[in-house]
Every structure is written in C-alpha cells, then in structure tokens.
C-alpha cells in the first residue's frame, strides 16, 4: 500500500429510493498524504458531506476501498473501525456540537475518557490544550456562555485533544462571523503546519485558500 494517510479506490455510495437507486458518490479515487490540508468543494448535493461521513467512518455502507493509515477500513469490523477512528481522527463541525451540559474543561476531557486515558493524564493533556488555545479562563464556562467563535475554538481544541493525525472539518466557519471564521481557519492552518492532516468541506474559496489542495465534487463525481 502507498504511504498515503487516506487512500480511496473507486468509492461509491448510493441509496435505494422508491424512484430507484440514487447515486451520491461515483467512482471516487484519491490519495491524501500525511500533512496535507485538503479542501473539498462543490455545489449542494455534490456528495461532500457523504464523502466526509465515509472518511469519518460514520457511514460504512459504501462500495470500493477506503484505506486509512495503511488499514483497509472497508474490510474492518465495526469495533476495529471504531478503534482506528479513535486513534487517528478528530472532528470539527459546522454547528460546533459542544455538549451543552458539560463545561469547556469537560468537553475537552470527554474524548480522552472515551480513549480510556487515566484521570491524571487527562488533567495534564486538557491543561496543555487550554493553554495552547488560550482558553484557560473559559474552562469552567458552559457552551451557552461562550460566543460562536469561542465555541468553535473549543470544538477545534476538542478535536485536537486526543492528538489525531487527521482532522475532518465540516464547514468549520459556516456558522461564524467572518472575523471569528478567520481566527478558526488560522488555528487549523497552524495545526496543519505542526503536522496534522486536515480535510475540510467548505463553500468558501477564501477558506480553501488556507489549504494546499482543493478537491471538487459534482453530482458525486470527482471534478477534473
């Protein structure tokens, strides 16, 4: 297998509807190398979010091959896939999706808990992350007490807390004011500079400019 972080070979995704089979992705083949910052673009309904769901392993009902860090995701049982995801992937969502009942500190702590990191180690990692993102002062606040930009910053910090090799970001600035959006994109760029592979879905050419490659989708096909 190649040294790619992500390797897709003829990946296809379709849904059975009353009107027949509807194709969302067709014959998608691509490689993403470690350290790349890739932006997936395309009009609504082009298959961007479906592609991200497959990359994030939320969707296993696809055809073709998906290799992540040299592992054949398409062949792995559910449990192994989940383990692989926990090891390599962090997520940033358009709507931040912070857990409303948890403080900033606890939101950062929870991915570590899901990876069975012991308490003392969790405390030290979360403290580092709060420092790194400059949000120490916000650690005891709940998401509802933060601005949209601050929430997304916490969401990025949360995506990074388990030290993933790969961040999947779905319209990370879609719900933000432009100033906040730029701050988030700079943060992602910084992470990429530090070695994290980033795949973002975006409609914004400006945001795509932070990356080093753009993949365009149209009607489920890779464009060009």
């Amino acid at each position: 297998m190649s040294d790619a972080m992500i390797s897709l070979k003829s990946v296809e995704r379709s849904y059975e509807t009353k009107a027949g089979r509807t194709w969302v992705l067709r014959q998608v083949s691509l490689d993403i190398a470690p350290g790349e910052f890739v932006s997936v673009m395309g009009p609504s309904g082009a298959g961007k979010s479906t592609l991200l769901s497959i990359l994030g392993m939320f969707d296993s009902d696809f055809g073709g091959e998906y290799w992540l860090a040299g592992q054949p995701v398409h062949e792995l049982p559910h449990k192994k896939r989940a383990e692989l995801g926990r090891k390599h992937i962090g997520f940033v969502f358009q709507q931040y999706h912070l857990l409303d009942d948890l403080t900033v500190y606890e939101n950062l702590e929870i991915p570590l808990s899901y990876r069975d990191v012991v308490r003392s180690e969790r405390q030290s990692i979360v403290a580092d992350m709060l420092d790194r993102f400059g949000i120490v002062g916000k650690k005891d606040l709940y998401p509802s007490q933060l601005s949209g930009g601050q929430q997304q910053l916490v969401a990025v910090a949360r995506a990074m807390v388990a030290s993933p090799d790969l961040i999947l970001a779905d319209e990370p600035t879609g719900a933000l004011h432009s100033d906040h959006g730029r701050m988030i994109m700079q943060t992602l760029k910084q992470l990429n500079d530090d070695g994290t592979t980033i795949v973002q879905v975006t409609h914004s050419e400006e945001n795509a400019g932070y990356g080093n490659r753009v993949i365009r989708l149209r009607d489920g096909w890779l464009d060009g």
């Binding site: 994030g56 009942d101 948890l102 899901y114």
Partner: protein, 804 residues
C-alpha cells in the same frame, strides 16, 4: 473505576439538568417499585420472616383433616393425649386453646385474650421467661393449684414492672391463682397474647366427643424428619379411630411445619395475586420510563451522535443511557421503600384492629430484606426500562444525528417501539383495572349482603361466667335473667336478649339428624349452627318470624325442649313442607330431641362472604351457656347505652367485666374488613395503573406533538382545520387502544381466575367489570390524547415554521 466514575458523574450531571424528566421518571418508578415492594412486605412478613423461637423448623403443628375439611381442623384433646402417649417422633406434644381470661386483683377485673396451655407448652416453645419460671409438669392437672404466666406488656401496664410480681396472688376467671413468671418483652405467643393459664382439663370426666379441641404441637426429635412423623401419626391415628368406630370417620392427622399455619393456600393465593398485580404496575412503570427515555433519546440524538464522533464506543453509549435509567429507578426505589413501608404498616394496623389474629412477630414494615428487594427490583426495572432505548441510542445514525442539530425535523416519530410500549401499558392497565373492579365490586356487594335482621340501633356486650362463681345451670340462668331484666329497664330500650351469637359474630355448631332418620353408618351427619337465645332475640335483631311462633316464657326447663330453625334449615331439611311441629335430633348420638316451633329469617352467624348455614335456636331456659352477649335495642343512639348497660351489669355483679361493649354494627363491619382491605389494595393498584397509563399516553403524544410542531404548522398553513389536526393525534392513541384492550382482557381473565377464591358474590368474569373497564380506559386514553391534540390544533403556522 476511573472511567465508571467519570461516566456516572456525567450521567448525574445530565440528570440534574433534566429535572423535569427526572421528576416524572422518579415518580413513576416510585409508584411501580413502591407497589411491588408493598406486596413484598407482606410476603416478607408472612413467609420469609423466621418464627421467633429456637429451631423453628422443628416445631410441628398437629391437626386433623378430612375430605370435608381438607384445610385441617383442630384435634380433640383425647386424640392428642392418646397420640402423645404412643408417639416417638417428638420430644413431647403440647397444645393450646384460646379463651377469655379475666384477671382481678384488688380492683375491677380486666379481660384479656388468654391462652390455655399444656404445662410443657412454654418450655417446648423454647423462650425463657424474663422473671420467675414457666409452668412445670403437673400444673395442668385438674385441681392443681392454679398458676399463671404473664407477658411483658401486662406486667408493665398493670403491675408497673415491679420485680416483686412473682408470687403475686390474683383471681383468674374467679379462681385464686399465683403469678409464677413473666415472659420477655416481645413474646406474645401464639398471636398477641399476654397471659398463659394451664389448661386443667379432666379427660377422665369428659367423653371423647365432648372434650375441647385444641391446636396441637410437637418439637421433632433430633434426626426425625417431618415425613417420618407424618407416617407414624397416620398409623397411630388409624388405630385410635379403629378403637373408636363412631369417632371422626374419615379423618387423618395433618402435620405441617408451624410456619405453614400462616401460609395457607388462601393466604398464598392472596399474596400471589397481590404480587402479580404489583408486578403489572411495575411493568407499566417500566414501559412509561422506557418511553420517557426513548423520547429523551430522540431529543438527544445530536448529543449522542457527537459523542460517537468523539470516540464513544457503543458500549459507552449503552452504559450511559442504562445508567440514567438505573439511577432514576433506584431513586424511585428509595421513595418506593417509604411508600411500601407506609402501606405495609397501614395494612398491619388494619389487620390488628380488625381482630383477624395478626401474629405479634409478623411485620409488614420495611426491613433490610425489603430494602434490598426494593433496590434490586428498582435496578432491574431500570435495566428493563433502559435496555431498549440504550441499544437504540447506540445504533442511531451519526450522520443524521449531526444533521438534526438541536431541534426537530418536520416528522420526528417515536416509532414502532413506543407504540408497542403504549399498547403494553394499555393491556396491563386493563388487566389490573379489571382485577381492581372485581375486588371492589366484591366489597360493594358485601356491603349489600344483609347480615339478617337489623343490627342498627343495637348495643351489645360480652360477659363470661365462671364455674367457681356460678357453679350450676340454675345459678347461671338466674344471672342472665336478672341481667336482661335490668337492661330492659334502661330508659329508651325497646327490646333485649341474651344470646351466644349476634349477627356475624360466629356461633358454635353441632351435627344433626331428623326425627325418624336412622343413625348414619359412616358417622357423617349434616352440620347446623346452634345459637342460644332468650325470647327477645327476634325483636332485638328484627329477625322475621316466617312460620310458627317465637319462644315464650313457657318454654322453660320443665317444658318440652323446643327450637326455632332458620329458613335455610327449613328449606334443606323440609323442602316443600312445613317444619313446624317436626323434631330435630342434635349431636352425633342424637340425644337431644328438639321440637321445631317456628321458622325464622336467615341470619349470618359467620363472615358475610361464607355460605348461609342451617341454624337452630334454643331457648336459654332449656339449655346452658357461660359466655353470652347481652343485646339491647333502642330507637335512639345505641352508643349511649354503653354506660347504662355497664351499670346494669354492676348492679347484678360488680366483679364481672363486660367486654366488646360496642354497637352490633361494629361486628358486621369487622366481618367485611378482609374483603374490604383486598378491595382497597386492588382498587389502589388499578387507579395507579390507569394513572400511569394515562401519563404514559399523554407523555408520548405530548412529546410527539412537540416534535411535530413544524409539521403541524405546515399542515395548518396548507389548510388543515382544527378537527383534522386533533384527529391526527387522537387517532394515534386510539389505535393503541384498539390493540391493547383485547390483550388486556385476556390477561384480566387470568387474573380473575387467580382472584376467584377471594371474590364474594361476584363472578371472576363479571360482565360489568369486563365491559366497564375497557370503556373507562378508552375514555381515559382519549382524554389523555385530547390535551396534546388540542395543543397541536392551536399551533400558529408562522410560529411553527420558525420552530427549531
């Protein structure tokens, strides 16, 4: 451990913030677990609590049984003595019988529920006295100096707990006696007794058929099994019957562990029915909580998806949802323990007050065993309620969940599972409610069962005469005549009688045959109740005279022995012909011939839920009785007669106590107390079930309406009128009703069969219950559907379309 604690902390945090959900779920579970635990307190008290005697499993209750009396009956003292002389299974046999014990020292005599025992009884029971000694061999011999042992309560209340009590002289039922011992605190064997007197029965002076019957006991010798003892006694008793061919034909000995005395078939039937009923309540509660969690899971879809995206394994999600359900259930269980304790104690008080012989060591309160049961059952209920929603939560589509954002789509449905749970709730509620309706109707019917005659306006009081003070029939008869005359002089009294049995009190009985009938070859005779009365009985209790005449003063000891019989006797013994003038022979030997002078209306001389028995009334002037009830009728308030009746007795004999001085109506009410209790319990279960089901239906539909706000808005915007929107919601509840009710009626049929033994005057397939309950439930469910439906119909389309 760290992970578990982290998850638990998170779960508790989430629960604290969802106080609305927690409040409802905890309340629902408190009801369900409370009801189940309440039934368990009874099982714990009756079945699981060990008898408070050393080696209780060695104590064996010895009775007789026959085809007519398969549940056992007391054994004659002769039989027990003969068995005791020959048997080898037990260290020794002992016995007791209940009786009134009047104790007088320097003051007015006081009456107690006493126990007359064999001299070895307290020693064999094995509880050492607090002070002095228990009885020794020979103290139960006829003519031996009388000694008594008293209980702690009596010692404290009547003698101030003085250590000098042992050796104190008192009069017991008129006979001088010495207090030889005090039993320890809490000991009231066998029921709630505070004084023990040796039974000084002279067997040589009494034929086998006239000796009293007793509760027999023995303590098994080491190495002897109950089965071996049963076999030995069966052989020995067969030999006794062979020697006495006319005696107890067809009877056998019936030996059981003493504990089984309290867990008879009927008791177990009632307890089982209660436990089944409460498990149904618990299942309804589980279904409700499951629905609440399902609804919560739907609204937490986004959160659960985020957790999955952040790396939560399926197991962690399952555990999270399950721990919510279990924590809520355990919180409900803790409240349920209080509910069960309060309910159990209320039933305990009711049973003690109704005088049904609630043993002193039995408790229906909560103890450690009950608490462990409640917490265990709560955790199990939490597991049952949470497992399906938890699995659903763990399998939800992450991509869809993340898209769902914080609000609902246009058509969020709780799905097939929720509808199934609602159907289950309706079915279980229907079954429980039918059970409740059957028992309540049974109680209501009992209220309308007339005890016979009319007891309102009648004051009664019981008096016992003792052989030492009234040694012969003449002196006793004179006493009763003088007393009745004094009571008749009380202003306002319009009728009086002295009788052995007032309505529902419980009378003695005897075998009988009709004049001209040959003695039965197998010794079997029909049985009649026998009641001794004075001529005012019919007037006092307004019992109608149906044929012939009432007793008169001419029916005295020198006249021909006469009797009145009740309607049931007349119909059974003399169908289609007049009973007046015929003769009836009482006793197995038929040695008392009575000429029937009249037929009177039926009166219950036992509980109202028993079948009416034949009854023979004898005039006091021609027979004898030491324990009788004085009864006086007044057109005014009968309670006002208590003082004057007591005064009347004092004027005849100032040393005699009168007890149970109460309106005759109290006896009738007490006879209805058992079925009434059961009716109340099942009624409460039924109401709880309907409440839970209606809350369940309401909760689910209200949630659905909230989730479908946008859809209803769209429909309204597209022109749907109020009726269509209401119809859309109500139809959802109605469908579950149509499926749930038939299933519930089938379950109800099974429950009805379980209750058959305790239902009085109502069929276990009573059409009123089986038709009325579904109708009621339908109304409740439609009403519960209507509230959310109305809310849906009032949704403003513009508001709804902005709804997230």
């Amino acid at each position: 451990m760290s992970r578990l604690w982290f998850d638990l902390k998170m779960t508790m945090r989430a629960l604290v913030r969802s106080y609305g959900f927690v409040a409802i779920a905890v309340t629902v579970m408190a009801l369900g677990v409370g009801a189940t635990t309440f039934a368990f307190t009874a099982i714990n008290g009756v079945v699981l609590t060990p008898l408070p005697y050393p080696e209780p499993e060695e104590l064996v209750h010895i009775e007789l049984a026959s085809a007519d009396e398969p549940n056992g009956f007391e054994i004659g003292l002769h039989d027990l003595a003969d068995l005791g002389a020959q048997q080898t299974s037990f260290e020794s046999l002992f016995a007791y019988y209940n009786g009134t014990v009047n104790v007088s020292g320097d003051e007015q005599p006081v009456r107690y529920d006493g126990i007359f025992v064999s001299a070895n009884a307290l020693e064999q029971i094995g509880v050492a006295p607090e002070l002095g000694r228990v009885f020794v061999e020979g103290e139960d011999a006829p003519g031996a100096p009388l000694s008594v042992v008293i209980g702690w309560n009596l010692w404290q209340q009547d003698y101030g707990g003085t250590p000098a009590i042992v050796g104190t002289q008192v009069r017991v039922n008129g006979t001088p006696a010495t207090i030889v011992g005090v039993m320890p605190r809490g000991f009231q064997w066998p029921v709630r007794n505070d004084i023990w007197v040796p039974m000084q029965q002279d067997l040589d002076a009494l034929p086998r058929g006239e000796a009293i019957t007793v509760e027999g006991f023995g303590r098994l010798r080491e190495g002897v099994s109950l089965e071996q003892a049963r076999a030995e006694f069966a052989t020995l008793y067969a030999a006794i019957l062979a020697d006495n061919p006319d005696w107890n034909v067809g009877a056998t000995t019936d030996l059981n562990e003493y504990r089984d005395e309290f867990v008879g078939n009927q008791t177990m039937g009632i307890l089982s029915a209660m436990q089944v009923a409460t498990f149904l309540v618990l299942l309804i509660a589980c279904a409700n909580v499951a629905n609440l969690i399902l609804a919560r899971t739907v609204s937490r879809r986004r959160e659960l998806s985020v957790r999955t995206a952040l790396g939560a394994s399926r197991w962690r999600l399952v555990a999270g949802t399950l721990s919510e359900s279990i924590l809520v259930s355990i919180a409900g269980g803790l409240i349920g323990i209080s509910i069960a304790h309060a309910g159990g104690k209320a039933v305990e008080r009711y049973l003690i007050e109704s005088g049904d012989g609630f043993p002193y060591w039995m408790s229906f309160g909560a103890d450690l065993r009950v608490a462990v049961f409640a917490i265990g059952i709560a955790a199990l209920a939490g597991l049952i309620a949470g497992v399906v929603p938890a699995l659903r939560a763990a399998r939800s589509d992450v991509t869809e969940g993340l898209k769902a954002g914080g609000g609902g789509g246009t058509s969020v449905s709780l799905g097939k599972l929720t509808r199934t749970l609602i159907t289950v709730e309706i079915a279980l509620s229907c079954a429980l409610l039918v059970g409740g309706a059957l028992t309540v109707r049974s109680v209501v019917n009992l209220q309308y069962v007339s005890p016979g005659g009319d007891v309102t306006g009648v004051m009664t009081g019981r008096i016992g005469l003792f052989a030492s003070d009234y040694p012969d029939e003449v002196s006793r008869r004179q006493f009763w005549e003088r007393l009745e005359a004094r009571v008749a002089e009380i202003p306002g009294v319009t009728a009086t009688t002295v009788t052995t049995s007032i309505p529902t009190y419980g009378s003695g009985g005897n075998a009988y045959r009709l004049d001209g009938q040959e003695p039965s070859p197998d010794g079997r005779y029909p049985f009649t109740r026998t009641v001794v009365v004075t001529p005012g009985y019919l007037d006092t209790f307004k019992v109608p005279l149906l044929a012939g005449r009432d007793f008169s003063v001419t029916d005295n000891a020198d006249a021909q022995p006469v009797a009145l019989i009740n309607k049931t006797f007349a119909e059974r013994a003399f169908p289609g012909e007049s009973a007046v003038g015929k003769r009836v022979l009482l006793g197995r030997e038929g040695d008392l011939a009575l000429t029937i002078v009249g037929v009177v209306g039926d009166v219950y001389h036992s509980n109202l839920d028993n079948d009416m028995m034949p009854a023979v009334y004898q005039p006091l002037a021609q027979t004898d009785a030491r324990f009788m009830t004085i009864a006086a009728r007044t057109p005014g308030d009968e309670a006002a007669l208590a003082g004057p009746v007591r005064e009347a007795l004092r004027s005849v004999n100032p040393d005699l106590p009168i007890y149970w001085l109460q309106p005759a109506q109290v006896w009738v009410d007490q006879s209805r107390s058992g079925p009434r209790l059961l009716g109340m319990i099942f009624g409460v279960f039924g109401i709880a079930a309907v409440l839970l089901a209606s809350v369940g239906v309401y909760g689910v539909l209200a949630f659905t309406v909230a989730q479908r706000t946008r859809e209803f808005g769209v429909r309204r915007a597209l022109g749907a009128d109020n009726g269509r929107i209401v119809n859309l919601v109500v139809r959802q509840g109605a469908f579950q009703l149509l499926v749930g009710l038939p299933i519930g009626l089938i379950l109800a049929f099974g429950l009805g069969q379980m209750l058959q033994g305790v239902l009085a005057n109502v069929s276990s397939i009573d059409p009123v219950s089986f038709l009325g309950v579904p109708l009621l439930l339908a109304l409740v469910v439609i009403a519960a559907s209507f509230v959310p439906a109305r809310r849906a119909s009032r949704i403003d389309p513009m508001e709804a379309l902005r709804h997230e």
